[in-house]
Symmetry: D2
């Protein structure tokens, strides 16, 4: 159950955690997990699961609240460790009261940036935007007006390595959890991407795998497609091939030129990226090889 902001405030004396896990599929996982949680005084508010028959792998998301009193994340981590080990789980638990710390990266087109900042501000997306990195100056005023640090880091073939070093430093010092490429038009190196698996979300302005690579709207226009799309995906070293989180589309007509496609595309992009980030902040995405499991 999605609990609204209002309701949640009242419940803050309790702990609320979201547990994500995956492990080799075998009988008894759900019983063990729910038992363990019940024994530790947790009430299960939501639970989703999925068994990949081909990969023989089991995925689960459980949202719990401490029924009686406050429990710290560390305590939870400790207590759950034994169960996790018994099933050879990949797992992580999140405190619902702590918003993910997010770094936004953008180039010239700022429609996704503006949308994400607004959604963050009004609480529609529960994240803390720690900073905005751009290879252009354009967005500075808008970002700084929101009280968010703006880093203007231009990129050239020569400075690319140094730029990624600065990014690494910023991510480390600011404890950034998630990096969002909100129409950041520079390609990050495979080495950089490999450092942050499932932690970089990109919005590609096409309905992947159609129109991988550059200038997808021009290519969509030339091919005469009747719908354009956008794809939010995790970034891996393999360009435009990372696990897809969500996709969106819009109808187009023969009388639209490339500029019109770009205009229509802006709406699809910002909507699709915001949806991906909502799913991320609600801890609904688990990766499964080159795919994602999305619990909605």
């Amino acid at each position: 159950m999605r609990v609204s902001a209002t309701v949640r405030k009242v419940e803050r004396e309790m702990s609320e955690f979201i547990l994500n896990l995956s492990c080799p599929d075998r009988p008894g996982i759900v019983a063990s997990v729910s038992n363990e949680l019940y024994q530790r005084g947790f009430n299960i508010r939501e639970s989703h699961q999925f068994g990949d028959l081909e990969a023989e792998r089991f995925f689960m998301r459980v949202a719990v609240e401490s029924a009686a009193s406050f429990v710290s994340l560390d305590t939870f981590n400790e207590s759950f460790g034994a169960t996790a080990q018994a099933f050879n789980m990949t797992w992580r638990v999140h405190d619902k009261s702590i918003k993910p710390r997010v770094l936004l990266m953008v180039s010239k087109f700022d429609h996704c940036l503006v949308d994400l900042l607004y959604r963050s501000e009004i609480g529609s997306l529960e994240m803390d935007v720690i900073g905005v990195v751009s290879n252009h100056e354009d967005a500075r005023e808008r970002v700084e007006t929101s009280g968010i640090p703006f880093y203007y880091w231009p990129v050239s073939p020569e400075t690319k390595g140094a730029n990624e070093a600065k990014l690494n430093a910023l991510i480390a010092s600011e404890h950034i959890e998630l990096i969002v490429l909100a129409r950041y038009m520079q390609i990050l190196s495979p080495e950089f991407a490999a450092q942050y698996p499932d932690r970089i979300i990109n919005i590609h302005h096409s309905f992947l795998p159609s129109f991988k690579g550059a200038v997808p709207y021009s290519r969509a226009f030339e091919r005469g497609v009747k719908m354009i799309g956008a794809t939010a995906h995790f970034v891996t070293g393999d360009l435009d091939e990372g696990p897809i989180i969500t996709q969106g589309v819009a109808d187009i007509k023969h009388d639209m030129n490339v500029s019109d496609l770009i205009d229509v595309g802006r709406d699809v992009e910002r909507r699709t990226l915001a949806q991906a980030i909502r799913l991320y902040t609600q801890r609904r995405i688990l990766t499964n090889g080159i795919k994602t499991v999305v619990f909605q």
Copy 2:
């Protein structure tokens, strides 16, 4: 996880059940249910839950398979009874290998009927169509060609009571579980409807609560709306007020007249009704007062 037809055949030596339950919300339900299932040798393949904070009521759907050997539905019912009683559950368990027995009712417009028969035939909807009742002769040939009994029962104000008595008899003798009003244009009496709670699905040809009652397309045309819709809902004694299962919409334009709306509406109706029946046959719908909980 939806398991495909092919995969399911291989698994038929095992029992596969779907358990639907609701009860007053309190800690420990999930743990108790999953424990009970694990102890009895069942593996949980899918599980969904929802806690209605206002109604303080908990809803759950669990799909299980017997891990080792065949278990009968009766055995399952017996073994689960104690847990169910302890939590004051309203519950029902379904054997996945047994398709629901369905009675279709139709008047003159047969687009939903034709679609449902085809989907049933190719296995896209897993139901057994036991018969078709109509107050017109029109659909007889189409139905009988499919090898399904056709009951032509005309309705007038005088024969309405007798007609419902015949329906009751047919439902009883043929062990009908679900009655589908696939554009059946006669109003069933509140007394009749009350006998089959959550067992009669109707497709209303509007986006309820807009345009309740008769001739919704004409009224949509007159009002100049830009979208029309269809609503699949459970039938209660209160006309067009039963719990909504799913809704669909389509765009319309100023140059469409009432006939065009009817034509566009056919697609929305058949799609929306088929989706409602799919949800029903997969045991994904639980009613919650005048609403539904739909686990997708």
Copy 3:
């Protein structure tokens, strides 16, 4: 054909007009209009028409450019007057190079306002926002940062008349063409609305005619609908009954509470209102009694 911003600049030495007209239907209208335009040296770039068979009324939108040299709007008006009179037309011609002057009105929820200001700023909506009127102070900073005058005019039952007098004065002095109620939660008097036929656009946060009036999301939640919507319409003296321009919908699920509906609704509202204003600025909307003709 929608002509992109880039292309249009090149063509600016020419005049580009959009002609909207309606008249009693009879043979020869298209021939007369296109002949007249051709004789006066205009090239037809787009043309849409619609004949309402019931109302026996004809509607037309023609986009033209002067083939050879600049023609003023006044010249065009003069030259077209005879044709218009001959067919008893209601008509208006718009210079494409002149953006409509728009007044935005808003209360506390600013998601539509923020979206419209951004779209206006980047040229995605071609309008000049002349000012923003609000009965709350909340939006002041955001509006004034964009360099747009902000009028804080609180409304009480006692001041309502005076408030509308101030509005009238502002609309007159600033030559406002279009008034947009971007979630303005005060009801304008029928007398006020009657002064500006087809010049006030409201976004109602429901799929009209469902949930007319107040708190539609609460009522949608209580009814248990599976989709919510938004409706952009012209304002008349008859509350929520004005001609509908466009409508949008979004799916909702049983686990969403009223706050969630409001959050999902924001996206539908801003998208639907922006689309209505785009149609308006492109002169694609003609009213037809209590309906609209929308040429897309």
Copy 4:
């Protein structure tokens, strides 16, 4: 304006034609065409146009009715020839009272076939299905029950040439205008396709240009996309590269396997193909190189 079946019957004493044309763009086309039509006693009921700025080509669709008395198609053709020649038009005029003669081709999956036959039967698609060709026997009973000839022509590498010769003969002898590949899983030779430009419509079961070629649902599953689609396009010698007419999509989830995708895909395919054929029968599609102009 789309005129409903009922209305149209009343108007049958008049002639109703649809004129499709394209030509190099230059001033005066609309004026000349509408004048010519007016002079010949025709009333314009609908008119759409599009100027492709890049190709400098003009496209137009005009629906007319004879205002006073019946005019034959031959008479119309003769009278319009001079105007057409003056503007170097590619053009064709269609009598609205004559339905296109259509040949359906199908392999094993019959969901599109069944849908098209039903829509044709109830008048939702205005076409005459002259015959069904299949390389399998499966659909025979269903087709013959509808009173339509069924041609079982199995195809092997050796018989492919002979098969296409038979097709040519059938198309010629039965005066087939349109060939619809309703999930026909054999590839027609480029030589065959070249004989029928803009007269063969195929439904490809992917969102082209994603997943060109074989087994698109398996490839969509493996890639982990979140939406699948279908594409209706004209067939050219270049496989899956013909002009796109319309596209459709549907959401998919991580718990769907290839069978589920195929099931969901059926709905998208039949809806998309039916829409393409509706556009064709209403003479709304004009090709523009490797694209289409679709007047809606």
